[in-house]
Symmetry: D2
Subunit: 251 residues, 4 copies
Amino acid sequence: MKKKVGLIGFGRAGKAIANVILQNQEFSLDWVYRRSTLLEKRSVPEFLGFESDEPGLIYSSSSISIDEVIKKHPVDFIVDFSSHETIFNYGAIAANNKIKIISGVSHYSNEEIDFLKQISNTTVVFWSPNITLGVNYLLFVSKFLKKIAPWVDIEIIEEHFKGKEGLSGTAIKIANALNVESDKINSIRAGGIVGKHEVIFGFPYQTVRLIHESISREAFGNGAIFAAQNLISKESGLYNFEDLLLPYFSH
Amino acid sequence: MKKKVGLIGFGRAGKAIANVILQNQEFSLDWVYRRSTLLEKRSVPEFLGFESDEPGLIYSSSSISIDEVIKKHPVDFIVDFSSHETIFNYGAIAANNKIKIISGVSHYSNEEIDFLKQISNTTVVFWSPNITLGVNYLLFVSKFLKKIAPWVDIEIIEEHFKGKEGLSGTAIKIANALNVESDKINSIRAGGIVGKHEVIFGFPYQTVRLIHESISREAFGNGAIFAAQNLISKESGLYNFEDLLLPYFSH
Amino acid sequence: MKKKVGLIGFGRAGKAIANVILQNQEFSLDWVYRRSTLLEKRSVPEFLGFESDEPGLIYSSSSISIDEVIKKHPVDFIVDFSSHETIFNYGAIAANNKIKIISGVSHYSNEEIDFLKQISNTTVVFWSPNITLGVNYLLFVSKFLKKIAPWVDIEIIEEHFKGKEGLSGTAIKIANALNVESDKINSIRAGGIVGKHEVIFGFPYQTVRLIHESISREAFGNGAIFAAQNLISKESGLYNFEDLLLPYFSH
Amino acid sequence: MKKKVGLIGFGRAGKAIANVILQNQEFSLDWVYRRSTLLEKRSVPEFLGFESDEPGLIYSSSSISIDEVIKKHPVDFIVDFSSHETIFNYGAIAANNKIKIISGVSHYSNEEIDFLKQISNTTVVFWSPNITLGVNYLLFVSKFLKKIAPWVDIEIIEEHFKGKEGLSGTAIKIANALNVESDKINSIRAGGIVGKHEVIFGFPYQTVRLIHESISREAFGNGAIFAAQNLISKESGLYNFEDLLLPYFSH
């Protein structure tokens, strides 16, 4: 039987994630919970133009509490792509019902992180600010190469569409993980480039390049599903993406 | 004190390796042993135009036995970039003297591999047909990604200079390691390209590319030194490159 | 005042083109003419969710003839992304009304090409099977480099999503233009890659790579607009993309 | 019969150029003229380890004047990879003898440029600070694309070995030619990268990348030979690389 998913947040990332979950055979999208009343009471499959027997009902927080939604439609996972403070609304009830939480929220305050830790005593809590498999893999194996060759020269190139302001958050995260200065991040802003990250490892007589190219936001959906698959048999606790990748190294 | 190295083989790869060892602070090049009598009794530093206090004497197998060379100049490591059958000439004496063996020979017969195993009961024996750090890293982390996402689409591009015949051995090794058919290896032959390998992992909404670019044969030298550094404290046994990389994963 | 455009064909390419024309300041989308009765009498801006004062009315060929549409809403350009035989329906009336024709149809029969030539005596007719600026630029400057260095080694890499069958038409066109065998086309099929073409020119001591990456079908729209801009002051005749690029070389 | 070449300057670039000329069937290396007395009176083929019937005699300016060298061994071309002021030593005599001059000198003063112009009334004078075919092609077709699409977003990436200081001169030249600010030049310094220049043209829905990768300095030699081939039938005058590429556009 499919594992049931409730999705909190239905912005651009939320919609892409709903799209992916609906097409996946292991998980069903039971509901979406969002702040806006737009699309309220419609179903996601119908909204996205899918044939699907998954309910995917859209609820608005202005009409119904998350507690009631969960009571009406119990789920195995809550996937949260809303804003940081939402965790306080559903965290306790999710924990009490042993619903596993997968959060792709970009940033949490210290207080919110403390709360994540607290509820992770009772249920599985996973948080990854960039939830794509590819970027997390890149991060992981980049750190590994740096460990093997601590003296290697590292440069980062990140390419995005014209309007994007500031350094890419992912590039900053890579730089921090590799302990390189942010002046080693080279930002390209041109046309409609969706998103590309390249880590260059310069050795005296060879060069290694690790490249991640984004095609669309649906990659978040696949990341969330990968997380869900790898959290099914996990004990209560707070996890990040690296925790899910590490076991694949064992022989 | 520097660890002492004897080098067997002084072809193009051997020369490049000698070049790198001479410039390294942890290892000294004590002698070179080769079949040809060319350059016999000259010193490698002088031949390569270096100032160096490392002897780097060049011996020819037509004038002196390897046993005598080892007796005159005991070493900690033998680095072997000669041909496959040479192992029978120096393997036993190296093992008896606890000299660690680092072989970059491309191919050994089954009989030779059996001999490697036998002497590895007594000393450290390391064999890697492609001894560059970058290629072995690529191989390692490619297998890791395949394990994480067994269903991912994989394609390999290998680029080399115009004249190179057949598929690149490294590309074949990558294909085998990832269990992909050789028709997924795309061979580019153009101009003077030194050597480039790219593994493409195609996900539905993102692409990961792992690229290795060779600059020169000296990369073999750095690989040999990396092996030597990581073999110093190892027990007797037969090792390959993956065995050296694996410990870097432990936290 | 904006130049008026009528669009024939409203499949995936047609929709992308409509999208781009609607956002352009120099051209207005006056109508769409399509075979299907889907969306009939609705307006494109409303369908695509735009605020726009451009009419963009959708007509179906099952309800109204193209002659009537043109009579009701005279236009300066007809952009044709329908199928090859459609040219017979609108070619004569377009020519009689001096409406410039921009066709992005993939393939025409000899008979249809003869017809294009015939009407090009009376009006401007432009045909490009791949109407993106980038691909045509690549083609142009690749031929130029081949002319400068006829002996250079050339290889082509084309990358597309998993399901795409056969060689990419663009890659074949590049190969033909450069007079290289089709075994120099290396096809990568992986995940969701939208479309990438790379032409590698291998020189003995240097490599030149020309790369085109598609982000979305909207690129056809920009190509059509580029064509329209460069056809405004042209005399009657049959033009292709190269004819539009060539004048930019003059000093 | 082979065209005769005299080479002025025998540093790293000069040696690479000599290497290429010696292997070329259309041109012979008759002599090298250099400041240093190192290698004086030896022959280049013997020094580089070639079998060749081309003289390639090495003269030092401390022992013999360039006038005498030219008198003893008249040549068709002088290729100059020495320093900027050398032009005053041989310019007049070259012009008087209708010897064509190919200079790859990085920088000339205004006074020296005036002198180049003056002697170009009498003979063919060619000057290109970066004399590789690939870089000049890149420059040429980049300017062409900018002309076609003046509003396109442009970014430049230049990659070189760790130690290289300052922006690459070629990258600056590209930026100037395309009229983009130098903050669009992204400099990567890592390991032993020989030299890579990438110009990214970002369109809303597509990206064009033009890449030049250096393999070795011998590329200068091929550039010099390309220049010589294209100057054979030219009238007196001052030429740059673009002047040689332009005729290839004519149909």
